[in-house]
Each structure stands twice: as C-alpha cells, then as structure tokens.
Symmetry: C2
Subunit: 669 residues, 2 copies
C-alpha cells in the first residue's frame, strides 16, 4: 500500500477497525495464495507503466483516444503474452487481466481487443469443427489475426431470430454469399470491428437450396492483412461516440454480396455439405452455453464496479467534513451522518451479496455444463432462468449503487478525476448488452409461471423454485417472524404470491377473450415485478446461507462483522419492500418499527469499520484511479494535481480570447 502520509481522519478510521483487514482480503480473493498471485500479477503488469498518462485520456479527442487505446492494448497484450510464456499458464492470465479490475486500470474506457479474447476465440473453440480449430485457433492465439464477433444489427438486438444478414450457399462455386439486404441489417456495435479487427465471426441467416435454416456463424475476412484496407464489398466504420467505453472501437459492417469459401461456416454443430445439403445440429441448446457463461461472468464484473465506487465514496466521506450541527464543535466527517451511512454501507453489503451469489451461480453453471456434456439437459432451463434474472438485477443494482456513490460525493463526484462517472458508464452499459434487462426478467417469468403450474399439478419443483410448492401446499403458513430467516421466508412468500397473482390475472384476461400473448402482455409489468421478487428471494437466501458456511472458519471478530453485513442487507431490503411484505405476509406495524430501529442500529455498529471494509476490497490506487478515493486520502491535493493536468491550464490565456472574447467585449465581433 501507498507510503505517503495518510490523512489523519482516514488513519483514525483504520486505527479503530475491529477486524483484521488482511483476513478479509484473503477471503475475498479465495485464499492467501490467491491474494499473493493477484498482487504479483498486478505488480508485473503495472511495473510496465502502460497505465501512466502525461495528459489523461479524457482530455483527448475521440480519434486520439482510439489511437491511445490501440497502443495500450498492444503493449498490455505483449506483457500478457510474455507472462503466458514464462508461466506456461494458458488461458487463465488474460482473463484475470482483462476482467474488471486490472484491465480497466490500463484501458479505463474499454479496449479494442477485448472481443478478440472474450468472443472471437471462445466462439471458435465452441463452434468450429476440429479441422477449423486447427486452421484458425493458433493464428488467433498468437494474435497474427485480430477478430471480433458480429451479431447485433442496427435494427435488431435482443431478438436474435429477427436478424436480417443473409449467407446464401452457392453450390456452383462452393461459396457462401454474405449480404446486407437493408440498412437495418448492417451489423452495429461489435467492439474492435470499426478499425481494429481484420477477421470477424458473423451471425447470419443461412440459406441453402432455397430454404432458410436460421442463424449460423461464419468467419469472414474484413481487411487485407498487409494493408488493413477493407476488402471488396465490405462496408465498415465506427458507430460514433458513446456515453462511455470510447476505447472499444465499436463498429458497423455491411456486406455487398461478399463471397467466402464453404469452409468458413463454423461447422462443429450444423453443417452445409458441398452439394448444399443442410445437416442439422445434434443439440441446438448447446449454443446457449456461451451466452449463459457471459452472464455469469457479468455478475462478478458488477461486484468489481460496485467495490470501486463504494471504496471511493467511503474514503472521501471519511475525509470530507461538512456543516456544524452542534455549535462550537468542528464540522463532522460526512460519514458520521446517518443518511450518508445509509447510502454507502448497503453498497459494501451488496458487493458481498453479489460476490457469494456469483460464486454459487458459477458452481451451478459448472455442474450443469458437466451434466450437459453427459447429455443431461434437465437443469438447463433452471440455470437459464437464474442467469437471466441475476444478470438483470445485478446490473440494475450495480448501476444504482455506483450512481448513489457518485451523488454521495456531491459535486466532486461529477469530476472525471473521481473516476465515478466512467465507472457508471461501464456499469450502466451492462443493463443493456447481453440481453436487455426487462426482456430477461420476462424470460425468467415464463419459467416461474411454468413452475407455478407444475406446483398446482403436484409435480416436484427444482431447488431454486421449490418455495413455490411450500407456499402453495394449502397448509396454514406460520406467522411473521422478525428475524433474518423470517424475512427471507417472507421474501419467498412475496415472490410466490406475485407469481400466483400473475397466473390468475392472465387466466382472467384469457376468459374475457384475450389471446394468451395479449393477456401476458397486459400482465407484463406485474410479471417483471414477480421475476424481480424471485431474484431478491434467491439473493437474500444465498447470501445468508453461503455466509453461514463461510464464517465457520473465520476469526470471531471478522465473523461478527460479516454477519452484521448480512443482517444489514436483509433488513435493508425488507424496509425497501414493505409494501410487498404487508401484502403477502402477516408483518405488523410493531415489526416494522423494530426493523427500522434494527437497521439504524446496524448502521451505527458498522460505522467504525466502514473504512476497513472498503480497504478489504484491496483496490490499488493505480486501479482505482480516483482523486477522491486514494488510499492516503489526500483528496484536495489530488483534485488540484489532476486539474493541473488539463491542457487548458498549460497557458494562462487561451487563444479564443483574442479571437472571439476580446472583439466581442469591444463590440467588434
């Protein structure tokens, strides 16, 4: 950690922390050894100095930002290539480096090479035949070619079946003809597509022998390997400046009758034979794998963004002083205001809640994938339903958490030097990509409605929805209990109650003559809410039960704090969802009053450990990149230092004075 003098207030916070911060760091990393590995990796990458900038990239033009991002991405991957050779560590390293923390320290506004690793190579591995893998994967791994993945079109995103790009097989030349029949069929959004990649996996509607067989993947060369000029018939460019991620070089791509060899269709699953015969995939559900994998990884990314934001806001709140509630006393640290604790401590608890849920989902993902490989598809729908709602709720909660942290820093949170606006840009993007959140919630709702009907029919339900059967059993439910377990049971009743209401409303509407689809649509605001309630019940239950397991091997001092965080999280959500609890459980006004006091009491108890808890996220200054959040708490000095880096401050008088202001003031403009 940093060696400069630490701000007195921040030092006092650290002195009074009641638990061992290193113990918690190790738990979050997954063990002492993992912490050491992470730190070593950080050292190795950061000592290269690629992250250092004379002029912060935020001051550059859009074009300059891209050029800097290419430079940094190349230098970063050069280091990773070396690390891989030295350690013979395979795929693991670049994933850690690309992921939320270290990668964003160097390419804080996104990297034009990310999709090469995150989508291009994995799709080759998942969808290419063995012969195709032999041909492509070596070149891709060695970065002799740079690829990306083009699915979304200008006119079509989440609804994949609607994609318009066509790939028509011509048996005479044994080629596919790729074509963009409309403006809306132009590929739009893929990272690295604009000016970086020279190859691309393109998802297109496959036509052969006059029949459409749906969306399939094709590998297409976009640019000449020597000159980088776009090939004939390839219409390519960038989509323009965005809210964030301006280093990712998102592009558009249109085809004018572009011919590629038959072998460029990825044929691990479906095939087109030389004569144009289409051979179907053994299991079309296998294609779901990558999408679910990405959603699971996203939950972890969200933890990283939240941890960054809450670290920044918490340390700043320990340093910032404001107002004078008591005459003749100094201005308090703003962290002493209960409203500030309310805004920030829930963020700390959320990081732990989503971290443990992400681990749990990751295990489930691995189990289900193993079952899939053995031909057992039974738990796939449950995993799909879970990954949809957890993706939606984690990204929405994370965006709200980051923005709450930013606003909790007052005006200074609006400065890019706080790093909170960029963190928000990265977080909120995830609410839309990889499946729009409302659409995903409604996908989970379909699963829940089915589960309800199965429960009514007396069928056994899969574990994560088994509570529906309990609530539906007809037995008299026990009364409200004002405990953590009682609240979690209450959330399950809320979810079951909401699903039941949706089912009954859909049925009533069908009886008035509406089609199922129309009845579903008119009920869809309620359905999305039921789906969210289901996800809340899962989140609370998993966070609680996984923490119970975790604290068995933890020191008493730390156990105490981790349990306080679970309590805070559960009670916070109970207070947020009082309307639901009042409708679907027997909670009383007295219970509510007690919950409110319990919550205020928890804030007060966690207050002394507030800074220790964010220190335990162990985000180095180089990764945090925040004038407000640095370990030493030299907030004001750093704000000024950052301001002085502005190119506008390099000259006392800007040229626009002579050109415009002075003539204007003299009435001569």
């Amino acid at each position: 950690m940093s060696k400069t003098k630490v701000n007195d207030d921040l030092q006092r916070e650290r002195d009074k922390c009641t638990f061992n911060v290193t113990e918690l760091i190790n738990i979050i990393d997954g063990g002492i050894q993992k912490t050491e590995e992470r730190k070593k990796q950080e050292d190795m990458v950061l000592k290269e100095g690629i992250h250092l900038e004379q002029v912060p990239s935020e001051y550059l033009s859009h074009k300059e930002k891209y050029e800097l991002a290419v430079k940094k991405a190349c230098l970063l991957f050069k280091v990773i290539r070396r690390m891989q050779e030295e350690e013979n560590a395979g795929m693991e390293n670049y994933r850690a480096v690309l992921g939320g923390k270290l990668g964003s320290a160097i390419l804080q506004d996104g990297s034009p090479l990310t999709l090469h690793y995150v989508m291009f190579i994995p799709t080759l591995m998942g969808q290419a035949s063995v012969e195709q893998q032999v041909h492509w994967i070596g070149r891709a791994f060695d970065l002799n070619i740079i690829g990306t993945y083009a699915q979304t079109e200008l006119g079509h995103g989440t609804f994949i079946r609607g994609l318009e790009t066509t790939a028509t097989y011509d048996p005479k030349t044994k080629e596919f003809v790729l074509h963009s029949p409309t403006l809306t069929s132009y590929k739009w959004w893929p990272g690295g597509l604009a000016h970086t990649a020279n190859y691309c996996i393109v998802m297109a509607q496959l036509y052969t022998k006059g029949q459409c067989h749906g969306i399939h993947p094709f590998i297409v060369q976009l640019r000449d390997e020597e000159t980088h000029m776009p090939l004939k018939g390839i219409k390519i460019g960038e989509i323009g400046v965005k809210l964030g991620m301006n280093g990712t070089n998102n592009g558009f791509l249109g085809f004018e009758q572009v011919r590629i060899p038959r072998e460029h269709m990825l044929m691990k699953n479906s095939k087109v034979l030389e004569d144009g015969t289409y051979v179907n995939s053994p299991s079309s559900k296998l294609a779901y794998g990558t999408m679910m994998f990405v959603r699971v990884v996203l939950v972890t990314d969200m933890c990283n963004y939240m941890a960054k934001a809450v670290t920044i806001a918490m340390r700043y709140s320990a340093v910032r002083r404001q107002s004078q509630p008591k005459p003749n006393e100094p201005e308090p640290q703003i962290l002493d205001y209960l409203t500030q604790q309310h805004k920030l401590l829930i963020g700390v608890a959320s990081v732990h809640a989503f971290r443990l849920n992400a681990d749990w989902l990751w295990n489930m993902y691995n189990n289900v994938t193993a079952e899939l490989d053995a031909g057992d598809l039974e738990r796939l729908p449950e995993l799909h339903a879970l990954s949809c709602c957890l993706k939606a709720v984690s990204t929405a909660d994370a965006a709200e958490c980051v923005e709450r942290c930013r606003l909790a820093c007052g005006g200074h949170g609006y400065m890019l030097s706080s790093n909170l606006p960029s963190t928000y840009g990265l977080t909120t993007a995830a609410c839309t990509y990889e499946g729009e959140n409302t659409v995903l919630l409604l996908q989970t709702a379909r699963y829940l409605v089915k589960a309800w009907q199965q429960a009514i029919g007396g069928h056994t339900l899969t574990p994560t929805v088994s509570y529906i059967a309990t609530v539906n059993s007809g037995r008299r439910l026990p009364p409200w209990e004002n405990t953590i377990e009682g609240i979690i049971t209450g959330f399950q009743r809320v979810a079951a109650g909401k699903i039941g209401l949706c089912v009954s409303n859909i049925e009533k509407r069908q009886k008035t003559g509406l089609s199922y689809e129309d009845a579903w649509n008119i009920t869809s605001v309620q359905l999305a809410s039921a789906s969210e309630a289901h996800c809340r019940a899962i989140l609370l239950y998993t966070y609680y039960t996984e923490t119970e397991k975790l604290v068995e091997t933890v020191s008493p001092a730390l156990k105490h704090v981790l349990v306080q965080l679970v309590d805070l999280y559960v009670v916070y959500w109970a207070l947020q969802r009082l309307g639901d609890l009042l409708r679907f459980t027997s909670i009383s006004e007295k219970d509510i009053d007690e919950l409110q006091k319990w919550y205020e009491d928890l804030l007060t108890k966690l207050r002394p450990n507030a800074v220790g808890l964010v220190d335990a996220f162990d985000i180095r200054d180089e990764i945090l990149r925040s004038a407000l959040g640095a370990y030493d708490g030299r907030v004001y000095e750093r704000l000024m230092e950052e301001a002085m880096k502005s190119p506008l401050n390099a000259e006392p008088v800007n040229s626009s004075f002579h050109k415009y202001l002075k003539p204007f003031m003299q009435g001569k403009l």
Copy 2:
C-alpha cells in the same frame, strides 16, 4: 415541422391521435401568442446557423470543445444583443434563450457565459448599492466585462458558513485584502471562471477591526482587460473534465493577499465604513431571495429535460420493432409492449405534473417576494421549505426519468447521437448543485417537525402543511376511498404519519439521553423520507387541482386526455408507495388489485395518443438534436449519418495500424 417523408409507423401514430396537438402546444406555452413568440425567437436564433457543426463537438478534445463553446457563446449573445436592441425587450429574451431549450440547442454542453447572466448581473442588481450599480451594471450589460460568481470552495459547498476565503479590511489604505488561507479555501466550480471571465463576485468572510462578520460579496478583477493575463496574486485555472457540461469552463481561484478598494464590497445591505466600522444589513433574510429564485427556475429546467428525453424515447419506440410474440405476425412496435408504456407514459405525465407545480411555485414566489418588499416575512419559511423539497424531488425524479428513457432505447440510447447521455449529464448535475438533495430534504424536514409541534399546540398551520392538523385533529378519519381524491388524501396521511413517527422517535431517543442533534441524526433517514412524502402529497394535490382549473376552458377531447394523465400519475405513485399507504391508511388488497388494473387500463387508453402527447412538447429537431427522436422518425438513416461524421471514419485505415497493430500482429512490437 420537418418536410421530409415521415416514417410510416410514426405517421400512423399521428393519424390516430384523438386530440388537437396544437391546442396542447398552446396550453403548454401559455397561449397562442406565446407559442408564436417562441417560434419566432427560435427562427431568429436558428437561422444564424450557429448550432451547425461539421464535426459534432463530442469528437473534439476538451480544449477544442472550450474554444468552440466560446465562439458559439459570443455569436449567440451577439444575436441576443441585436434582438434586444430591435425589440427593446429588456431582460426577457436572454432568459428564454439561455434556458433549457433554445440555449442547449446551440451550446449543448453548457456555456462559459451563463453565469455572467444568471449570477453576476443578478447579484449586482440585488446586492450592489445604487452608486455601485451605476458603475458596474452598464458595463456588465454591454458585455464590456464578463463576470462570474464564486462561492463554493474546494472544501466547502452546501454549508456556506464554513467558507474559508477571507476579506480583511485595512483602514490605512481603505482596501480589502482577499486571501485564501488554505488549499481547501480555493474557489472551485464557478462556470466561466477558468479562462473566460475577467471579473468575479467573490463570497468571503469579512473581517474588520479584528472581528469576523460572516460571508459577504466582493467584486474582484481577475484578469487584465487588454491582455487577459491573470492579475498579481490571482491563482486561476480550470478544474478539469467532468461527466457533462464541458463547455462551461468551471474554474478554481485562489488569492494571495489581493487588495481591492473598499468600494468593491457590494454594499446594498451591509456596509463597511472608511474607518472600518461594520454596519449591519437591515434584513439578512433578503439574501435568501436569489437562492430560492434559482431553485424555482430549476424545476422548469427539469421539465424541459424530461420532455426532451421522453420525446426521443417515445418516437423511437414507435419506429423500433422487436420480437415476435405471435407466430406469423410482424414484429410489434416496442411501444406496444406494456412494459415500455410503463417506462415512458409516466414521463409524459411527470412533465405536466412538474410544469403545473413549477407555475404554482412561481406564483407563490412572486407573492411572497411582494410581501417581503412590504416587510412581511411570514410566509418566507414556508416558501423556503417548499422550494427545498421541490428542488430535491424534481431533480431526482427528472434524472431517473431521463435515465429510464435512455435505457428504454436499449443500446442505441448509449450513443451520444441519441442526445440522451448529454441530457442525463445536465439533469443529474442539478441533483447536486444549488444545494445537495439530501441536505435540502432535511431542511424541509425541520420545517415539518416544527409544523407538527405547532399542530399539537393547536396553532393554525400555513396552507401547504394544513393537512397535518387535519390528520392530527383526533377525529376518526374516514376510510380509504379508491379514487384520485382518496389517493391524494392518503398521501397526506402518509406524510403526516411519517412526520409524527419522526417526532416521536426523536423524543424517545432524547429520553435515552441523546442530545437533540444526535437524536435528529439517527432519525435522519426517516426524516428525509417524511420530507419526500410531504413533497409527493404537494405534487399530487397541485397537479390534480391545477389541471381541474385548466380543463375548464379546454376542448372535450383534450380534457379527456389531460385527466387521464393526472389519473395515471396519481395511480402510478399509489402503486409505487403501497407500503406507505398500507401502513398509514385503510387501503385493502382488493383496492390494490383494482388500482393495478386501473393503471394497466390507463396505459392502454393513453397508448394511441403517446406520440401526439410528445409532439405537443413541440421540440424542434435542431433543439432535440437526436438521431432517435427526430420528427420524421428516420432513426436508422440518422444513426448512420451521425456515425459518418466521426473523424475516424474519414480514413479507411487509421495510422495506429501501421504504428502498433501490424508490428504487434507480426510479433515485432
């Protein structure tokens, strides 16, 4: 309106609108004549073409953005100067042009001259003595000098008493010595301060004869009028790049023993005589005036931002098609999904709700100001309490509304060419400036707690809190009524109930030995919530009663729709606050079920008028600046046209390929 061919879907929406859009436009403007004036003004300013950009400013570097903003601001004010001369229209014109709509069409990322008009001139008018006004106001009006207003410091914002900059009177030279004793005392944030203004009103702690007399305003020359070089002892520069408003040239300012003549203290209220004697202000409360004025104006700005965002998202939702719920039918417009109507129609209702509340607050402000001038201060605390909570709630609601609209546009809302991200940047900034929202809610809470105690003591309450006395009267309250009036009464009970709980919790905590201040702090999460509940009750009541008056003179077709919007707004908020209603009223599960169906029914009924309702906000394409929201609905064509303006797309191969990518791919980097 635009003359190009309109998208078919959008045209169909317009054809089925049931009311006369022009009638609603005139109502929103305040009459036919006002609509004509506005359009004339828009024509006059836009025909100059200052808003046209070869390369959109978002692609420029930070420095280039500033230089462009200076150029545009000078050209814009040249036009306004001419308009003022031609029409002899005084102050009115520039306020309309600077305000949310027209100003942001030309300077969409803020103007470095705004504070000259919004703070510098008004402060001179409000705080300078007559002699001082003679000396300064002419030069300021003619823009021979450019001023700004410096209050906030690096270490102090909302808590004004804590400001550290000192102005010490030296009777020997009859000068004030301005000084920044610490880094945290540097002025930080004022717009135009960095490189634009050459004069500034500085708020500083006044010391004379060894005594501090608190914060007073001083006018200080910052830069040489000929060379623009900073004067001796003036440390000045810009604070750096921000989430938005990067054309405003926010600056910092430090003083090293800077001497100014005694006459540069603004002396309309308090004075320092030549010998250093301090003469107190007749009424220190008068200084509140400007602050309240700005907060009232802010509510109107919020309406403009919301209207922009909802216009963009609604038109896009009529053009965008997605998914295929029914086999063999075309993909529906996304506006046909109830979840989308749920996200957007509340935005339309919110614009009308806040517009009518802003008008009502504006009238009250004018009445109270007139009473103030007559020496009557009685209603000042009520107005202050109202302006605080309405500022907090309107900015928070507007930010949420704009962001909801952005997310409702999916990925394309993330593009700057949608204009939604910049609109969010402008809106969210208002949550922090002019008083941080949580602090403001707690100021209103102080007033409410006092009102509660007055009610208990049997005193008559001022109109906006009189409901507290009704709830407190001891009479048995009538049961829940599932009507608009019933819901509004319910919200008043919620507010009164929450205030009552806060008072009782503070008292209980005092009895356990806590000081009032500590008891207040531990109750402050509840206090902020009570304050928000009060504001919701005001918003619903005012929107409902003002619409009732308004529709008396409106055509039946339009009246029908305006009443539907009120219903939608009230029922929406009832459903959002079910927990509160269940706690503090006798609402039943059956009532809730009916409210939910009422809400879904209202969405369905308003759906055919959705596009007509945003057309009635009558925001010209040049002002909307959105590829997604233009009047003609050529969404995809415009997205592509905007993308083609990116300087990166001017060359097929970027120089970074030769410099980095190619050597990297060949393993030679």
